[in-house]
């Protein structure tokens, strides 16, 4: 049996409360008493029991991060940043992998959590709109990625539509005329895909380019294989594109692979731009042009928002906030040439 406050108290010849005071850094403890208690703590190797502490205080010091999958570089990097940001507040992060399954995500939102967490940072994939409304559960939640519906949850995201337009415009400005898009998705929860598609179309129109439906390739998910397959379909079409905007870097990397495999030059024959700025794109051949969201800022803001809700101040009950994070276009070889 591990030692408890009681054991330390006995060893130090003080009351349990005094030990608790020392452990929690309470100020009004005689230096001499403190020393004696500390000595007993060290001698016994006492460690506070977090379950008991939480039972009393209601706080676990754990927040959950729910992402579709850690395997995707974007989410892996996001997770890493959030773990670091949380660390600065002495929180640890529990990872929930939803695999993009609607039911898994619904459970999360419903608060059907099996574990005591102080807050949730959630990057939904299968759920959107009103389905994200929380029933009953008081645990604060911060949503990542796009949302359309103004509900009772804080939210951090970049301007997807504007970013997609930036990417497309970059292609148009380098003289490309048949600009394809890879990553369209039809289902209602695919908000991200729809916003990027909207940005793509807006930029096309602004550039005075026709919107050829044959140049929009749908994908099942946002992985390399999907991008490779979509690119193949585009190439097999009547008139192949001379540029492609892919809705994320993984799709772009897959598309590039198909192009090179078939003997096309990138960007000579076809320029390619992605979205996310994952590390792979900085070392691929050709290096990948992309949209770089300010990931570090996203992570920080998400954790900050949670902290505010968890705090005592008035912010805890404020209306849901919607925070916009900046992004920038990073032009590399896949659109510029080397």
């Amino acid at each position: 049996m591990p030692p408890g406050l009681k054991d330390v108290a006995a060893q130090a010849g003080v009351s349990i409360k005094t030990v608790s005071n020392v452990v929690n850094g309470y100020v009004h403890v005689a230096p001499e008493t403190r020393a004696r208690v500390q000595q007993a703590i060290d001698a016994l190797g006492y460690k506070p029991n977090m379950a008991a502490r939480q039972l009393r205080s209601g706080r676990s010091g754990v927040i959950a991060l729910a992402v579709p999958e850690l395997q995707s570089p974007y989410f892996a990097e996001l997770a890493g940043r959030i773990v670091h940001a949380a660390e600065r507040r002495s929180w640890t992060v529990l990872i929930d992998q939803t695999d993009g399954h609607a039911e898994r995500e619904r459970n999360l939102v419903a608060g059907l959590r099996r574990h005591a967490i102080d807050g949730l940072i959630f990057s939904p994939l299968a759920l959107a709109g009103e389905e994200l409304a929380r029933g009953g559960d008081e645990t604060p939640m911060v949503l990542l990625g796009e949302r359309v519906w103004h509900g009772p949850a804080d939210h951090v995201a970049i301007d997807n539509t504007a970013a997609a337009a930036d990417a497309t415009r970059h292609l148009a400005e380098s003289g490309r005329r048949r600009i394809a898009a890879i990553g369209a998705q039809d289902f209602p929860s695919a908000v991200t895909a729809q916003q990027r598609l909207a940005g793509y179309r807006a930029a096309l129109e602004q550039a005075g380019l026709p919107a050829d439906p044959a140049l929009v390739a749908e994908v099942e998910s946002f992985h390399r294989a999907d991008g490779a397959a979509a690119m193949a379909r585009l190439l097999d079409g009547p008139r192949p594109p001379d540029a492609v905007f892919c809705f994320n870097d993984l799709l772009a990397l897959g598309a590039v692979r198909t192009l090179l495999e078939r003997g096309y030059s990138v960007p000579g024959d076809v320029a390619v731009i992605g979205f996310d700025d994952i590390e792979d794109g900085r070392f691929s051949t050709p290096t990948l042009s992309t949209i770089a969201p300010d990931l570090g800022r996203i992570a920080e803001l998400a954790v900050d928002l949670l902290a505010e809700r968890l705090g005592e101040g008035e912010a805890a009950t404020a209306a849901p906030r919607e925070l916009r994070v900046s992004h920038r276009l990073v032009a590399r070889e896949s659109t510029l040439g080397s």
Copy 2:
């Protein structure tokens, strides 16, 4: 205040124990009573308080996974697999990012954990050997990756040395004579690097190839940038290699980048093989030959070992086990040509 067992009991007109029985799926409850209780549970939206449950049972249902960094595809994928494996046992996974800092890792091992966890899966980077011995803390730990010292912890790994030899032999067998290695590390805890280096040297000797020290490039860490820089140094050397064995795929991808950037053909001029089989290598150009450890199996075994230690059976106190997981060589374009 969220409803507790007591509230449900009152609502259903039964005792608190009966409610507990229903919640925990105890068998001997009259169907009719069960229904009534369940109804009360639903009506009140009762959720068990995990802190209290843990305080009693001593189990939190949370295990921790400590890795150097989630940003590395290998660890991201490992983490994803472990989260899934844990899920099958209804555990959730807490992520600890050590950043490879020795002190962080030392705290972990010392059990200086701030949070109640049932077990720890740990992939050490800065610590090795006796430093990994646990003091006092009873929480079961499973070590991932290589170890040299036979201590009181379970351990899952592939045969690093043999795998490195396989990779090197593959290069030699395709007729390469000046085979370089990228990834050597000098510090004592760099067990992985040392084992892979040993495998490389053994294979060289077996193939009757001289071991030229100028062909062994050291790196600070195992990232793309390190691989790119190391390759550049090799190329700037007196007699550049005609093949490179990189100690992980990230290094290899960086090396390939440098080669292509400088106009070398891969594998025409220089063949490259990596280690880990991360997804990037399957879509890069050229696709990357590599050593593929059975990651899924590693994750499963790690979780299984923890489960056994946590179980009631005799296995809980058995001697530390050392489990070897298989690996295979995956030859792709970077060594074969396309």
